[in-house]
């Protein structure tokens, strides 16, 4: 298993990220203990953590991430798909059959310059009950285009799931 680990905090498994995503993953590693897998047994890594985990699937690894989340059951707390591609969808409902099997809170990050961003509503059909985050000024290489935006949105969702709409930064100044 080719695993690259970084950071401290609750465990997050990152599937499918490439070398161009290094800055975004480094920003995420400031909040979480991340493990980036390029191939291998995701389920085994999750089981080995012995605590709730977050899962991030990038691009074509969306299906892999959904499979890992489905296999992990309750142990997968949050699933974030970034510029997902290649998902098999039910032709009648537009939903991913895999998505119906997962228990994790789910979120999709899409760049506004990514052709897949139109229409956003399709992602809510593909992944029922998912949150859709439109990342401004980003194309399909979203993490490389907006590393801080990725780390902020994905990090807040991994941390707080549906409550990510509530900000934790204070407006108060010293």
């Amino acid at each position: 298993m080719a695993a690259i680990e970084a950071g401290t905090g609750r465990p997050v498994l990152v599937l499918g990220a490439g070398p161009g995503d290094a800055a975004g993953l480094a920003a995420l590693a400031a909040r979480f203990s991340i493990c980036r897998l390029e191939a291998g047994d995701a389920a085994a890594w999750i089981a080995a953590q012995g605590e709730p985990v977050g899962i991030v699937g990038v691009g074509e690894a969306a299906t892999w991430a959904l499979e890992a989340a489905a296999a992990a059951g309750e142990q997968a707390k949050a699933l974030v798909l970034v510029s997902p591609a290649g998902l098999a969808l039910d032709p009648e409902t537009g939903a991913s059959p895999l998505a119906l099997e997962i228990r994790a809170a789910r979120c999709v990050l899409i760049g506004d310059r990514d052709p897949a961003a139109a229409p956003l509503a399709a992602w809510r059909r593909a992944l029922p009950r998912c949150h859709v985050v439109l990342v401004y000024d980003a194309a399909a290489a979203l993490i490389a285009d907006r590393p801080d935006a990725f780390a902020s949105a994905a990090g807040d969702f991994l941390d707080r799931q549906e409550r990510f709409a509530f900000m934790t930064e204070s407006l108060a100044r010293a």
């Binding site: 859709v132 985050v133 439109l134 401004y136 935006a149 902020s152 949105a153 709409a165």
Partner: protein, 341 residues
């Protein structure tokens, strides 16, 4: 060619000193009420005499244009008129919450039965001091703001926005706009970059106070960018804003201008600083008057602008009484300009 009356919501009382910001203690509470009544009356008159649109700008901390939230005045106007388009020219992107603006404008579109037009502007330097905006960021803020507002109006499902200047984790605007897919959106066409941005993103443009050759240059840039993006703007996509002193004859207009010039010369230092991109105080002087003369002369200028690509003429009438100017404008121009298509 369509005509648009730019009302100012200006203070109708006397102000000893203006400048920017103007101290609130100089504002009589009674005159503030009377000013709003006057503004509404003028908008109603504009509709009666044949204007196609009326417009309301966003400005702050000054008696010249007392419309810090143009949507509030627009809402009142929507209930006093029935035909004219109501153009919000701001809102000022760096000063607003874009999602709140999208909600309010959608509400206004419903209130007015689909008569709203909106121009998102970045504002003038003094306005960036209103709420402590960094002027260096205003162009990018405005570009992001326009795209967020358009998304907020068109996405059928809730979404989150992770921008460079705006972050909203839940956007789900109610009501939807009465117009489908949304009210027409204008963008500044004054600079090359903004004209090209508008063309690239399918927006209409507004050009203020420039001479016709410059207007043509900006329209050509805009159209080239639009064609590259796969669409073709028409005259209806180009608005021109100017100040007008209109007389029954050229010499009558010049006499009004001379009186105004004398008055502006006697004004306190700093007078008129609330103006600029959005229109300023049209009675602050005559140096920035684009239309000066009797009907024939002013109509010739309008034709020149039409030839440059302008389809909507947005005028602030200055001097000689707004009511008189509106009536003269409606009588002398509305039919003639309507023939320019």
């Amino acid at each position: 060619m369509k005509t648009c009356y730019l009302g100012t919501g200006g203070y109708v009382g006397q102000v000893a000193a203006r400048g920017w910001p103007t101290p609130p203690e100089l504002c009589s509470r009674e005159e503030a009420v009377r000013s709003m009544d006057t503004a509404i009356r003028n908008y109603r008159l504009a509709e009666e005499v044949g204007f196609d649109w009326v417009s309301i700008s966003e400005h702050h901390y000054s008696p010249g244009l007392m419309t810090p939230n143009p949507g509030i005045l627009a809402a009142a106007v929507s209930q006093q008129t029935s035909r004219v388009k109501i153009a919000l020219l701001g809102p000022l992107a760096p000063l607003i919450n874009p999602v709140r603006a999208a909600e309010e404008i959608a509400m206004l579109d419903a209130l007015s039965h689909g008569r709203v037009v909106v121009l998102i502007l970045k504002g003038t330097p003094n306005e960036h001091a209103t709420y402590g905006t960094n002027p260096a960021e205003t162009r990018e803020i405005t570009q992001e703001c326009v795209q967020l507002i358009r998304r907020a109006w068109t996405e059928p499902q809730p979404f989150a926005w992770e921008g460079r200047y705006f972050r909203f984790r839940t956007v789900s605007v109610w009501p939807r706009t009465a117009q489908d897919p949304h009210p027409p959106i204008f963008y500044s066409g004054n600079s090359d970059e903004s004209a090209e941005f508008a063309g690239r993103h399918g927006l209409s443009i507004a050009i203020g106070f420039a001479p016709p050759p410059k207007v043509k240059q900006q329209v050509d840039l805009y159209k080239a960018a639009a064609r590259a993006a796969g669409w073709e703007p028409t005259h209806d996509n180009v608005l021109y804003r100017g100040r007008m002193i209109l007389g029954e004859t050229d010499s009558a207009a010049e006499e009004i201008a001379n009186r105004m010039g004398a008055r502006a010369g006697a004004a306190a230092p700093g007078a008129g600083q609330g103006g600029g991109q959005g229109g300023g105080d049209p009675t602050a002087g005559v140096a920035g008057v684009q239309f000066l003369g009797g009907p024939d002369k002013v109509l010739a200028k309008a034709r020149e602008l039409h030839d440059a690509g302008v389809g909507i003429l947005d005028v602030a009438v200055a001097g000689g009484g707004v009511s008189r100017s509106l009536q003269l404008f409606g009588r002398a121009f509305a039919p003639a300009l309507a023939e320019l298509v």
